[in-house]
């Protein structure tokens, strides 16, 4: 690894799918990256900046990113179209421990864009099986913010998919309320293993509910989001206690998470 790890490579956008007003999915040409689900890339547009983005899906010759427009870089990314180029380096981080999920009852508790890093896992289980049972609990703020609608509908065929929103609308057919509240309906009957992705408050609430439903701490896996700059353990922004989210995470076991203090 003598090469400069900060130098990104140019990658072409093969396809753009609009998810919501703020969120778009980009399929990017990038052969041979072979990421582990849950890993992320540092994505940049020269002269605008760089930011970490989870790999939402991948194949042998493309990578998919799903970007919510919140600021400078994500705003500029949002304006890109098919055929444009962006720059990437990575993949970074550890990814999910898939071997720990094999053959188990899996409960995923996801807040909004937290669906992004697990999408490729669910797709693979959908295509090839591999788990005993999958409960996919997804919370969005409003019905208009629901992403991956097609995928969610397809996954319903094989898995228990429950979608909830914080604020309903008159024609919203789904549930209303916090996603963490759904945990007690699905976990508990048998030894489940859980994946939790979302904002800090949601992670806390979901973990509490999982523990109440007697899911073991060892069986809860959390993907943390922290401010990042370098993605490779140098810039210090993502450090919590003695752990670097970009190197040692973003996926941590709950046993570790409970000892980490920002």
């Amino acid at each position: 690894m003598n090469a400069n790890p900060y130098l990104p490579v140019r990658a072409k956008i093969l396809e753009v799918v609009r998810q919501t007003e703020q969120i778009a999915t980009f399929q990017i040409e990038s052969p041979g990256l072979n990421p582990v689900p849950g890993q992320f890339l540092e994505v940049s547009i020269p002269k605008v900046g760089e930011c970490p983005l989870s790999i939402s899906d991948f194949d042998s010759d493309y990578i998919e990113l799903t970007v919510r427009k919140v600021g400078k870089v994500t705003g500029a990314l949002n304006a890109l179209r098919k055929g444009d180029h962006l720059f990437i380096r990575g993949p970074y981080g550890n990814g999910f421990p898939l071997e720990k999920l094999a053959g188990r009852h899996v409960v995923m508790v996801l807040g909004g864009i937290g669906l992004v890093p697990v999408k490729s896992i669910v797709n693979r289980y959908y295509q090839n099986g591999g788990v005993k049972r999958l409960d996919l609990l997804v919370g969005f703020r409003t019905p208009r913010e629901v992403i991956f609608q097609e995928e969610l509908a397809r996954w319903q065929e094989k898995f228990n998919v429950v979608i909830t929103v914080d604020q309903g609308e008159p024609d919203w057919p789904g549930r209303v309320g916090l996603v963490s509240e759904l945990v007690k309906e699905v976990a508990g009957q048998e030894r489940a293993v859980a994946i939790v992705v979302g904002p800090p408050a949601m992670i806390r609430a979901a973990a509490e509910e999982l523990l109440k439903s007697r899911v073991a701490k060892e069986d809860i896996w959390v993907s943390l989001e922290r401010r990042m700059s370098c993605g490779i353990g140098k810039c210090g922004h993502c450090k919590i206690s003695d752990q670097y989210v970009c190197l040692d995470g973003p996926v941590f076991n709950y046993r570790q998470v409970e000892k980490l203090v920002d």
């Binding site: 401010r227 490779i232 450090k239 206690s241």
Partner: protein
């Protein structure tokens, strides 16, 4: 090998080295101090012995020589990236044992933390030779001995000035010939500070309960989150990567990194208005635990080298050694 050199001979030696190396040392900058008319002691390029402030401690550490405050990583032209490669001359730094230990902490992060090496740091770092300055008896805010960073064996040349002579011990074979040429053989052993006025007790284990202690609230009331303590620290490595484009040609620009500080607003800001450690005392807690606990847990040595600069520069007179000792007391109970 040990050598004694006259001041004049040492100056000739520096002049000869100056052709191949940039030479940095503590230096007094008149009128640049914090108070109008006062002097700033900081690192700067030197050409002769008289410029080197042997009897002063710098407000800022030598780290900026190898980790600049502002560093271009690469330039963007219309269709390509061009890396910024430093010039060829070597670098000699006159510094004390604490700061050599400090640079070893930088090495740990930039070269060893995770699978990637930071090439920008490495390119500058590998040009550096250390000229270990004799340190005696230290300053009132120093606490290097408690942290084991009062000593080092990691140097090219050890230098002690006594009256009109300079005593050197040379480890670096490349430089030995020069000392041979300008000096006479002498018995020289480095001496190190063996006792500081200030001592700290670094706690062994830290429980989660420490995080909510009243101690940090007291610091919230005092600390103004100015970040001076982290700027002056030889072991702080945090930075933020930024892009910019040039006013006169928007097609060209650069990606650069600038120092960042966990004490200053914005360090952890995330989308959705999530910001960690809004209270200044919580930032001081985060910094303190990193310096004396987290780093040690990860790499086996404390991060802080006890140079006391953070105490020297804090406008609110917050003493880091006192903070460590208060924490130690709480944990001892």
């Amino acid at each position: 090998m040990g050598y004694a050199l006259s001041v004049q001979a040492f100056n000739s030696l520096l002049a000869e080295l100056g052709g191949r190396y940039k030479i940095y040392a503590p230096k007094v900058f008149q009128g640049k101090g914090r108070v109008a008319g006062s002097a700033l002691v900081a690192y700067g390029e030197v050409g002769e012995l008289a410029e080197i402030a042997f009897d002063r401690k710098t407000a800022f550490s030598p780290k900026e020589i190898i980790f600049p405050v502002n560093q271009t990583m690469f330039y963007f032209t219309k269709e390509e990236f061009k890396e910024n490669v430093p010039d060829e001359r070597g670098v000699l730094i006159f510094l004390r044992a604490c700061d050599i230990n400090g640079i070893e902490r930088l090495d740990t992060i930039f070269l060893q933390n995770g699978p990637y090496r930071d090439v920008y740091y490495e390119r500058l770092r590998r040009k550096v030779k250390f000229f270990l300055m004799d340190c005696h008896p230290g300053w009132e805010s120093c606490f290097c001995v408690s942290l084991g960073s009062n000593r080092t064996e990691n140097y090219a040349v050890y230098v002690r000035r006594e009256n009109n002579e300079v005593f050197c011990r040379v480890k670096d074979q490349e430089l030995a010939g020069l000392f041979e040429k300008y000096g006479r053989a002498a018995d020289v052993e480095p001496r190190f500070v063996e006792k500081n006025e200030v001592q700290v007790k670094v706690p062994g284990e830290v429980g989660v309960d420490v995080f909510e202690h009243r101690l940090w609230q007291e610091y919230t009331a005092r600390c103004s989150a100015c970040g001076r303590c982290t700027v002056s620290c030889p072991t702080c490595t945090c930075f933020t990567i930024q892009d910019l484009f040039y006013q006169d040609n928007a097609e060209c620009g650069e990606r650069r990194r600038v120092w960042a500080s966990c004490m200053i607003d914005g360090f952890t800001d995330m989308a959705g208005g999530v910001a960690l450690r809004a209270n200044h005392g919580d930032r001081l807690r985060y910094k303190t635990l990193h310096k004396i606990y987290d780093f040690k847990k990860r790499f086996g040595v404390p991060m802080c080298v006890g140079c006391g600069r953070c105490d020297d520069v804090c406008p609110e007179y917050i003493s880091f050694s006192k903070c460590i000792n208060k924490l130690g007391e709480i944990l001892g109970r």
